[in-house]
Symmetry: C2
Subunit: 215 residues, 2 copies
């Protein structure tokens, strides 16, 4: 198929597809002549993933490019590729300060205490290297600055809930047969499950709130 059809099939405007091509998010079609290229199903699929990353995940284009780069990097094994791709995903706002203020230090202590309590040894080893770890520290520090003293005691139950969710996530990824698809699924899941979880969370809050206090 050609550009026009690709646009129609994917629901993405022609100009936008050109933009993605220019930005290196979408691989060029196979050139059939100097002015024509042929696209296939993989491009449709990739376009949908791109839309998911940008619209749902809210990634900046540059980040999406890196993520997709890892997904495509056939020189790496699945686990590495998956980790690398997820590694690039957004980790919340960067700390304005350099992480040297009091709230951040306290947050770091609480996070370490939490990891020890949970026995998450692997993550503890990686420590500050993991964006997720860093962003957890930042988030807890923000809470503390606003006056909410979240400690490891309060966090632990939430962490265990999220661990149960993570087990399900990986089970879900396992259901896909091909290695290539697994990586893509893991990325898509990380991006797309977030709004689902968030909506479920909000719905659950509404339900529970109604149960306690009525409408």
């Amino acid at each position: 198929m050609r550009l026009a059809e690709l646009s129609e099939r994917s629901g993405v405007s022609l100009a936008t597809i050109k933009y993605y091509l220019r930005q290196g998010l979408l691989a060029p079609g196979s050139r059939v002549s100097a002015t024509t290229a042929e696209y296939d199903e993989s491009h449709v699929r990739r376009l949908r993933l791109i839309r998911a990353l940008l619209q749902v995940g809210g990634l900046p284009v540059a980040t999406a490019r890196k993520v997709l780069g890892h997904v495509d990097d056939a020189s790496l094994g699945r686990t590495i590729r998956m980790g690398a791709a997820l590694w690039e995903l957004p980790h919340g706002p960067d700390p304005d300060d350099d992480g040297k203020d009091e709230a951040t230090a306290a947050a770091r202590v609480e996070v370490d205490r939490l990891l020890e309590k949970l026995g998450w040894g692997t993550v503890r080893e990686i420590g500050e290297l993991s964006p997720a770890h860093r962003s957890l520290v930042v988030a807890v520090a923000t809470l503390r600055r606003l006056g909410y003293a979240w400690d490891s005691e309060l966090m632990a139950p939430y962490a265990e809930l999220m661990h149960q969710a993570a087990v399900r996530d990986l089970d879900f990824v396992e259901t896909h047969p091909s290695e290539e698809e697994k990586v893509e699924t893991a990325v898509a899941a990380a991006i797309l499950f977030r709004p689902v979880l968030e909506a479920l969370h909000r719905l659950a809050q509404e339900e529970e709130s109604a149960r306690r206090y009525g409408l």
Copy 2:
């Protein structure tokens, strides 16, 4: 204290504070003369909440204004105010289509089935009116369009996990004594817990992934 000091205490630049005043996010200080106004601790606190809404929550200024308006609306009871404030919080991207396509219809069916299965009667009554409900449908529809057939069977365990989280959320809000603070806490929690939960989720995925496949 005056503007300069408020700026220093809150870490928000003078120009930005003026911008927030102009946008109606921050109440003007009490005028002590035609060219001078006095600010107090409540302004510092409010500024931090504003920063949380904008930076952490990523709300547009107009939305933040509405949310804060509900927080301040003393004419309403707590439950209503809390609900109204949370109601305004962002509910993911608006659907491009008008919700009439096939994927959206299928998603709606699955969501309804899920709510029935869970016995979340209250939310079911509100139905489409709730932004959370709508955004769940949109999210599930997006997943389906990408080829991941999430049904109520798969969602239910996640929903129950999030319900447990919601119970904890409300317990946490209950620990605050004053009604005023409860509303503010609920809003802050909805905004600030999200990055915490997300980071915990990501960390849990890393831990579980390392357990299964090694580093």
